[in-house]
Symmetry: C2
Subunit: 156 residues, 2 copies
């Protein structure tokens, strides 16, 4: 168990790394993301205080995700094998979140996904730039911006 101070923008893990770790966020905010073949970033998750951020690659496989800090943070770095002993219920809850995310990506429009996001993660909305929320939702910043202004119009 290894407590680390992380500066904003510092990269903790790169796609392709072996022996990737898991990070428990004590304070601050991490994110995990990929970069596709066109160089575009896609945010997989945000990790505020209390969350665990990790790629679920097992120790010997190359991981899929980058992890970096969106704010100065304090994190506890743990080995995957230790993490395996971590609260089973939390892992099942995590799976359910992923399940809902997949369903939402397949069935909901951009605007609906945005509504869902702000009601589910109201604190994060205020801490990260819009274009990162767009990236999490799977749309462009421009599309999010126009979705938001349409939303304002439609509500009285």
């Amino acid at each position: 168990m290894n407590k680390i101070n992380v500066k904003k923008k510092q990269v903790l893990q790169r796609k392709g790394n072996l022996n990737s770790k898991a990070y428990i966020v004590e304070s601050g905010l991490l994110r995990s993301y990929t970069i596709d073949k066109n160089g575009k970033e896609h945010i997989f998750m945000f990790g505020p205080e209390g969350w665990i951020v990790t790629d679920y690659a097992s120790g010997d496989e190359p991981c899929d995700l980058y992890i970096d800090a969106l704010e100065d943070s304090v994190v506890i770095q743990i080995e995957k094998n230790d993490e395996i002993e971590i609260d089973h219920k939390k892992i099942l809850k995590r799976i359910r979140v992923l399940q809902k995310r997949i369903i939402t990506l397949m069935s909901a429009s951009a605007i609906d996904r945005y509504e869902h996001f702000i009601s589910t993660y109201p604190t994060i909305v205020q801490r990260v730039p819009q274009y990162m929320i767009a990236s999490y939702l799977g749309i462009t910043p421009e599309a999010l911006s126009s979705a938001k202004s349409q939303r304002l119009k439609s509500r009285k």
Copy 2:
């Protein structure tokens, strides 16, 4: 532990059910899916022999997914609490599959998702109708059909 024979098209679980179970597929093929507000089906996963099919709602929450049989099947029904003791490594592997699915949904075109699917699940491709694969990929059967014919053209 409860072994059940399931007929093709038989529904094992409906969205909203409490106390949903997990199903280990001994033979045959299950699927889990949602139906959105427009009545459209979205397949969450296919479960051939050896797979576990379940909604990850904990026992007391209403589940999100329907589960039914695409072929006559033999399944073992287990309680969620028992399932919790099941192979931890399998659950982590499952998370990684979900992680990749999310990344793919966010970053890949319909045709790329199709390519990825047939290389990852070659056996399933032959067992289910095209329109269900389209549903799994998050596109319409028409889009899949035309993606396929373009693919043929482009490969010499």
